[in-house]
């Protein structure tokens, strides 16, 4: 068979790194092949895609060396972040931008734009729609549409669903399956469940950029499970393997029936408009509530309201103390945002951890001991002097949760903390939250991950149209609502 793309003896080194990322890597891809690249974060999968497409060194200047390389004649590249791959404000203008690059005549453009949008199943009434008003899944389909305008024979997909919810992910893969007949598709992806039936070949990389395994799906997943676990790759049986190793005990001994958080007729406002409403809820110590619901249904607004970052009305008490403003929540509640960088305010990991105590001017020795303990729990002890921004994605996330634990809050609010994390980091994080929960902390967490809800949550709230419409204990759900999610307990 013909190779559409190959590279021979690739050597690549990032200027500020000590060692080579790739040392004499050789790889080739057949026409029409669907290939999945797997590996721990930082092993260079995305970089490899950029080399194969010629973006390195043409658009991104990184010194590389190779004996031979074949860059496909027509290729398309879909990136991870839906918000940073468009340069125009409207849907039609964005696709037109690609058509302009290809020097398509103006009078053919509208028709072509319609056609491309239909191909990816993006039905919008008016093609002149602001991109900002689309959901993440729609944005990614627009990205695919604009790439298809290039009529590519090879598609490079760099974690196109990493920042999407389950629904968006399904839409993207359906679209890609539809359009990729006769095309070569090379995919980097962490969440592989939905594409296994589509993939012909899997290549696994080691942390130092060497090929560990190269073969078909069943071969790789049955022979390399241990390595995949170790690298934190989300392969299909990862939860089963985790649950085999760890026994989860979901129960917390309630002391009596005393609820510690009470909401009644609670409403959160944005510009005088009610954005979220909770009629009546009692929450007991040690409960882990998963908040689910569609994009834009009000999940994050609920958390912001509970943290008193939005204006609220109604009754809201913690341990019988009324909460009216954010100052009432100090030492009681903590909110972990989706992007950890937003919450870093100091210049070193150590200062970050001790910040809360420093502003209270607590005893220095006690502060140090407390910080040491937390940093070693979170595996950040050797990073004490680092700037928070220099940490890896997973470490940043852990640090931002660690800052929450310093104050051992009664209520911990988290907005999709496991988003885009590899399996290793996710499990580590969930275990820490679980330990905190066992001490009686209430955890309220927005998440899309069914496995997390099933194995760690104790209670589920479903939000729809700005209201908490359902509230059930985790083991009751399957009886109540059979056609939604099934919780086999």
């Amino acid at each position: 068979m013909d190779n559409v793309s190959f590279v021979d003896h690739l050597r690549l080194k990032f200027p500020h790194e000590k060692s080579l990322l790739f040392k004499d890597l050789s790889l080739s891809f057949h026409k029409g092949e669907k290939v999945l690249l797997l590996g721990p974060s930082g092993c260079g999968k995305s970089t490899l895609l950029q080399v194969l497409s010629g973006l390195i060194p043409k658009a991104i200047e990184v010194p590389i060396k190779h004996e031979k390389i074949q860059i496909p004649e027509a290729w398309g590249f879909v990136f991870q972040d839906p918000d940073s791959q468009f340069c125009m404000p409207y849907v039609d203008e964005e696709i037109a931008f690609v058509l302009e690059n290809l020097q398509v005549q103006r009078d053919e453009m509208i028709e072509k734009i319609q056609e491309l949008l239909n191909t990816v199943g993006l039905q919008i009434d008016n093609i002149h729609t602001p991109i900002q008003s689309l959901s993440g899944g729609m944005k990614q389909r627009l990205a695919i549409a604009s790439v298809l305008a290039l009529n590519p024979e090879v598609l490079f997909l760099d974690e196109p669903t990493a920042l999407l919810d389950e629904q968006g992910t399904a839409q993207i893969w359906d679209t890609i399956k539809n359009i990729s007949e006769h095309k070569t598709v090379i995919i980097v992806e962490h969440k592989v469940d939905q594409i296994l039936d589509f993939i012909d070949r899997v290549i696994v990389f080691t942390p130092d950029g060497k090929i560990l395994a190269d073969g078909d799906v069943s071969y790789v997943f049955s022979n390399y499970q241990e390595e995949l676990d170790h690298y934190g790759i989300w392969y299909p049986g990862v939860w089963d393997s985790y649950l085999m190793r760890n026994k989860l005990n979901k129960h917390y001994k309630k002391d009596g029936n005393k609820h510690s958080l009470r909401l009644k007729n609670f409403k959160g406002f944005r510009n005088k408009e009610v954005m979220i409403a909770v009629e009546d809820a009692e929450i007991y110590p040690g409960e882990w509530i998963s908040v689910i619901g569609k994009n834009g249904s009000g999940k994050s607004t609920l958390l912001l309201s509970l943290m008193q970052l939005l204006r609220t009305t109604g009754t809201y008490t913690i341990h019988n103390q009324c909460i009216h403003k954010i100052e009432d929540l100090q030492d009681k509640a903590y909110f972990v945002f989706q992007n950890p960088e937003y919450q870093f305010i100091t210049n070193t990991v150590y200062d970050e951890i001790t910040y809360a105590h420093q502003i209270k001017k607590a005893d220095q020795q006690a502060i140090r001991n407390n910080a040491d303990e937390i940093l070693s729990i979170f595996g950040l002890k050797d990073k004490i002097k680092h700037h928070p921004y220099q940490l890896s994605h997973g470490q940043k996330r852990r640090l931002s949760v660690a800052t929450a634990f310093v104050q051992s809050p009664k209520l911990l609010l988290l907005d999709e903390p496991t988003f885009g994390q590899d399996s290793k980091n996710t499990f580590k994080l969930l275990e820490m939250l679980e330990n905190q929960r066992k001490t009686g902390t209430i955890i309220i967490m927005v998440t899309h991950d069914q496995q997390v809800i099933k194995h760690f949550g104790t209670r589920v709230w479903e939000v729809q149209g700005g209201k908490v419409i359902k509230d059930w204990k985790n083991n009751q759900r399957s009886k109540e609502d059979k056609n939604a999610y099934s919780f086999s307990q």
């Binding site: 950029q50 973006l55 972040d81 960088e341 809360a356």
Partner: protein, 265 residues
């Protein structure tokens, strides 16, 4: 800017953006040569008419826009009125020294600032940035490299505003805002731009790579989705100014409101 304020489309929106830009720039320069107070007032009225009648904004919004304009007028005018040089004293109190000359000059400068603000806003409200850059590329041969960078940057602004809000919330949760004192205020004002900029720089870099991945190449000739051309609306625009400036000139010199012909001192 125009995308944020939906409005009715008027002939003013259909004027070629490059042509509009050139005309407004020339008018800016022209205003600097006006030293006759009567003419200055009449000229401002002509611009204000254009702003009120043809930007397609609702009356409520126009009144809202006029508020900061009053502030601009008062702040520029008052400083000249109170502290400007002059011989015929009208009023004196401490440092404040109002003279006939400084009074007229102050009013003149106030109107000048007002007409600048009105022209700028009229332009911003009736011009879509995307069309401006398409027109600059087509009529004024601006290299596409710059035009598309600007358009991508404009797209980033609403994303940044949203991000700014989130960062403020995130900081509040850390207890930054509950502490007082100069030191903390300083810390806060430094600490917000850093994550905001670091995100934006990364995003800008990624957009640039994505643009190249979509085969953007500034050395190749390109076609244009929007064809910008000179139309009769441009002549309406030009005639509006010729007519009204002419009229303003006529009224100012034949029926002056104020008996001052030159405010220079």
């Amino acid at each position: 800017m125009h995308t944020a304020f939906h409005s009715k489309e008027n002939w003013l929106h259909k004027v070629n953006p490059s042509f509009k830009l050139i005309c407004i720039t020339l008018l800016f320069l022209f205003v600097l040569t006006i030293h006759n107070l009567n003419f200055m007032i009449m000229f401002t009225i002509a611009i204000a008419l254009l702003f009120i009648l043809f930007t397609g904004q609702s009356l409520k919004r126009i009144l809202l826009f006029l508020l900061p304009f009053m502030l601009i007028f008062l702040s520029t005018a008052l400083s000249m009125i109170f502290f400007g040089k002059g011989e015929t004293t009208l009023f004196k109190w401490g440092l404040v020294h109002v003279t006939e000359e400084s009074l007229f000059r102050g009013i003149h400068i106030g109107f000048r600032a007002l007409s600048f603000a009105l022209m700028g806003l009229t332009f911003a409200l009736t011009t879509r940035p995307v069309l401006l850059f398409y027109s600059l590329m087509q009529q004024l041969k601006l290299p596409p490299k710059y035009a598309y960078s600007f358009m991508a940057a404009i797209r980033l602004i609403p994303i940044m505003i949203e991000e700014f809000q989130t960062i403020r919330y995130a900081r509040k949760v850390r207890g930054l805002q509950s502490t007082k004192g100069m030191n903390n205020i300083l810390k806060l004002s430094i600490s917000i731009p850093i994550p905001l900029l670091s995100q934006s720089i990364r995003r800008a870099f990624r957009i640039a790579v994505a643009m190249e991945a979509k085969r953007f190449d500034s050395s190749v000739k390109r076609t244009f989705y929007y064809k910008m051309r000179i139309s009769p609306y441009d002549f309406i625009f030009l005639f509006y100014f010729i007519l009204l400036i002419g009229l303003a000139y006529f009224i100012a010199f034949n029926h002056p409101l104020i008996p001052v012909t030159d405010v220079r001192y």
